[in-house]
C-alpha cells in the first residue's frame, strides 16, 4: 500500500445559481494577462449545452482522455511514436473559434468623440489583434439555454436520444437546465501529464495538484489535446501552456482557492483524501460501469488506524492526516456516496466530485390544486424532466444505479427535514424514505448540516502546508517569499 494525499473538491450542483462569480474571481487573479485573455481556468456551463470549448465532451473530435484497448489503457489521442510524428503538427487542437475570440470595447471612443447629434458608442474590438470584430460567440454563449437550437440540442450526452425525445426535452414546461462549474480536476491518472513530450507537467507529491513547469514547457500543446476536460490552455504570448493551479499559493497560506472563496452559493467544498497509489492502474482498467465504485475503493478511510499507520510510513505529515479525517470531501464522496466524478469514462480518475442537482419537480397539478410532496418527489425520479440517464452519462459513466442512489438519499434528507420543520410529511413517511435510501436519521442530519449550514472551516479543510519547513534549511525564507507566485524566473526566448 502506497498512500498519498490529494486535495480534492466537491461541487454541490444543487446549490449552484450559475452566477459566474467563481469565473470572474479566477480571471481577475490569474488570466487577466496578454495571451491568457481567452482562458477560463474556471468556467460555468449550462447543461444541456456544448460548454467551453464547444463540444468539449465529444472525444471523437477532441481525442482527450484514455481508452481501454485490449486490456491496456492508452491515450485516445496517440501513442508515443505518433506523438513524435505529430510533434510539429498537433492534429487535435481546438481552434480559436471553438473557444472564442476574446474582445473588449473601445471605451476611449466614448470620451474622445467629437460633439454630435448621436450618442457615441464603444465598438467591440478583438483582444488578439485590436481590430473591430463581430462577436460571434463567448465562453458561456449558451448560458441559460440561449441559442439552444445550436448548442443545447447538440449536447453530446443527448446523442443516444431520438429527435422526438430531444424535442420533448426542450418543450415548454418540460424544459430543464442546471449549471456545471468546471475547473481542472487534478486527476490521479492525468492525460495531460502522460501526453507531455517535454515532461513539463507534474503532479505535486504532497497534495496532488497538477502543475505545468513554465520553464520546461516547450509549447507542443499535446496537453491541450489530451486533457478530456480541455482545462489546459496555450498562451500565445509566452508560447507556453497554462492551467488551473488550484491557487496553490493561497492554499499554502491556509486560504481557500479564489473560486472556492468567492462562491456565492457556497457550493464548493475542499479537503484532503488519502488514496492508495498502487491501485491506480487497476482502477482505470475496469469496465465503464464499475469505474466510480473502483475509484471510491481507492480512497481510504482516514479513521482506520491501519491506514493512519501506513500513511505515516509513506511520509504523510500528521497535520495532513488530521485534515483528511475532517475532510468534507471524504464524507460526500466515500461516507455518504453522494458526490460523483465528472465523466469517469475518460479514465483519468478526476478528483473533483459533483453532487447531482435535485431534479425540478414535475408541475403536474392535481384537480385539488395541491400535490403531496412525498409522492411528487419520489415520482419525480422516474418521470423527471432531467432523465436519470442524462445524469448518469455525465457523472457515472452510464451507471444509473449510482445516480439513483445519490438522488434517493438527497430526497430522503429533504423529506426528513420537511417532516421536522414544515410538517407536510409525516414522520413515518420520512422514516420510510430514509429506510429506502439506506440511511439513518443521524446521517440525514449530518448531510443536512454540511449541505445547508456549513461554516467556512467546515467547507474548506485545508491541510497545513509543510513547504516552509522543507524549504527553510536550503533556501532563505525571505527570498522564497519574494519569489513565490505565478510567473517564470526566466523569460521565454521565443513567442511574442
Amino acid at each position: 500500500m502506497k498512500i498519498r494525499s490529494q486535495i480534492s473538491m466537491v461541487f454541490h450542483l444543487d446549490k449552484c445559481i450559475g452566477c459566474h462569480t467563481c469565473s470572474i474571481a479566477c480571471k481577475n487573479i490569474w488570466t487577466d494577462r496578454q495571451g491568457a485573455e481567452y482562458m477560463w481556468w474556471n468556467n460555468v456551463e449550462t447543461k444541456p449545452g456544448t460548454g467551453f470549448p464547444t463540444l468539449w465532451e465529444d472525444q471523437e473530435k477532441y481525442k482527450g482522455g484514455w481508452e481501454l484497448k485490449n486490456g491496456k489503457v492508452e491515450l485516445k489521442m496517440q501513442n508515443r511514436a505518433q506523438t513524435l510524428g505529430n510533434l510539429f503538427s498537433n492534429p487535435a487542437l481546438p481552434t480559436m473559434d471553438d473557444y472564442y475570440e476574446p474582445w473588449t470595447y473601445n471605451y476611449s471612443d466614448l470620451f474622445n468623440s467629437p460633439l454630435g447629434d448621436d450618442q457615441p458608442t464603444a465598438r467591440p474590438i478583438s483582444r488578439i489583434d485590436g481590430k473591430p470584430i463581430d462577436i460571434e460567440s463567448g465562453p458561456n454563449w449558451d448560458d441559460d439555454l440561449s441559442g439552444s437550437n445550436v448548442y443545447a440540442v447538440n449536447d453530446p450526452l443527448l446523442n443516444d436520444m431520438s429527435e422526438e425525445e430531444k424535442q420533448r426535452l426542450f418543450s415548454i414546461e418540460q424544459l430543464f437546465y442546471f449549471y456545471m462549474p468546471r475547473i481542472c480536476n487534478h486527476c490521479l491518472n492525468a492525460g495531460c501529464v502522460a501526453a507531455c513530450p517535454s515532461g513539463a507537467i507534474y503532479k505535486r507529491a504532497e497534495d496532488g495538484i497538477v502543475l505545468i513547469n513554465q520553464d520546461k514547457c516547450r509549447g507542443w500543446r499535446m496537453c491541450v489535446s489530451s486533457c478530456p476536460y480541455k482545462k489546459t490552455f496555450y498562451n500565445w504570448s509566452t508560447g507556453k501552456s497554462e492551467k488551473c493551479i488550484l491557487c496553490y499559493p493561497r492554499l499554502e497560506s491556509g486560504q481557500a482557492p479564489a473560486c472556492f472563496h468567492s462562491c456565492v452559493g457556497r457550493i464548493r467544498y475542499l479537503g484532503v483524501l488519502l488514496y492508495d497509489a498502487d491501485q491506480i492502474e487497476a482502477a482505470v482498467k475496469v469496465p465503464d460501469e464499475q469505474l466510480v465504485q473502483r475509484q471510491r475503493e481507492m480512497i481510504l478511510d482516514p479513521h482506520d488506524p491501519k491506514v493512519v499507520a501506513a500513511a505515516k510510513e509513506s511520509g504523510i505529515p500528521d497535520g495532513v492526516i488530521t485534515a483528511a479525517q475532517r475532510s468534507p470531501v471524504y464524507r460526500y464522496v466515500k461516507e455518504w456516496e453522494l458526490a460523483l466524478p465528472l465523466h469517469p469514462e475518460y479514465r483519468t480518475l478526476p478528483m473533483l466530485f459533483y453532487v447531482p442537482p435535485l431534479l425540478p419537480v414535475l408541475n403536474a397539478t392535481q384537480s385539488s390544486g395541491t400535490q403531496r410532496v412525498e409522492t411528487d418527489l419520489f415520482s419525480s425520479l422516474e418521470n423527471a424532466r432531467v432523465p436519470v440517464r442524462y445524469m448518469s452519462r455525465t457523472l457515472a459513466a452510464g451507471n444509473d444505479e449510482l445516480v439513483i442512489k445519490s438522488y434517493q438519499k438527497m430526497i430522503a434528507v429533504r423529506l426528513y427535514k420537511r417532516a421536522q420543520t414544515v410538517g407536510d410529511v409525516t414522520v413515518e413517511e420520512a422514516n420510510a424514505a430514509l429506510a429506502k435510501a439506506g440511511m439513518d436519521a443521524e446521517e440525514a442530519e449530518a448531510i443536512y448540516h454540511l449541505t445547508s449550514l456549513p461554516t467556512y472551516q467546515e467547507r474548506f479543510m485545508i491541510p497545513p502546508a509543510s513547504r516552509e519547513g522543507d524549504i527553510e534549511e536550503t533556501y532563505d525564507p525571505q527570498q522564497r517569499k519574494a519569489e513565490t507566485g505565478f510567473g517564470r524566473s526566466q523569460g521565454a526566448r521565443r513567442g511574442l
Binding site: 481552434t95 473559434d97 471553438d98 460571434e136 437550437n149 445550436v150
Partner: protein, 191 residues
Amino acid sequence: MTNKKGKSKGSTTLFVIMFFAILLSGCMSAPRKGAIPVSVKAIDAGDAENGRKLFMGYAHFENEGPPCMGCHSIGDNGLLGGGNMGPNLTDVSDRLTQNKMISILANSGAEISPVMEPIYTTHPLTEAEQADLIVFMTESAGEEEVDKEWMVFVLSFGGVGAAVVFFGIIYRNRLRGVRKTLVRDAVRKQQ
C-alpha cells in the same frame, strides 16, 4: 572580471589569426592554375565511353571540376536532360575545330570561354580527360537533341501535388473548427 575579459579577447585574436592562416594555407596548396593542353596526336587515344561518364558526372574529374552536364546537354541526357545554361554540344564537332575545342577545355589558346575559365582554372582537366571528352563529343555528332525541360516542370509540380495529397491523407482526421459547423447546420435546418 577584467582579467576574464582580457583572456577572452586574447583567445579571439588567436582564433582570427589561425582562421586566416588556414585560409592562406588552403590557397597555397591549391591546384596549379591552368591546364596542359592535350596534343592533337594524343586525342586518338581518347576513350569515348569514359568521356561520356565524365560528361554525365558518373565519373569524377581528377581535379574535382564540375561535370559538363551541369550546364550542357548532349543527345539524350537521361531522365531530366542536361543543363540549359551553356550551348547544346551535340553537334559541337561540326561547329568548332579540334584546336578550338582543346583551347576551351584547357583554358589556353585562341578560344577561351569566359564562363568556363574561372570554373576550370582552379580545377583543370587532365590531358587524358580532355582527349576522352573530345572523342565522346565528336562521336555524338548527329544524335537527336532531346528537350527535357517539360519533365522538370512535371516532376516539380507533380512532387508538390503528391506531397500535398500524402500529408492530406496523414492529417485527414485532424480537428477542424467545431462551433461554426454547428451554427451552419442549425441555420440550414431552419431554412
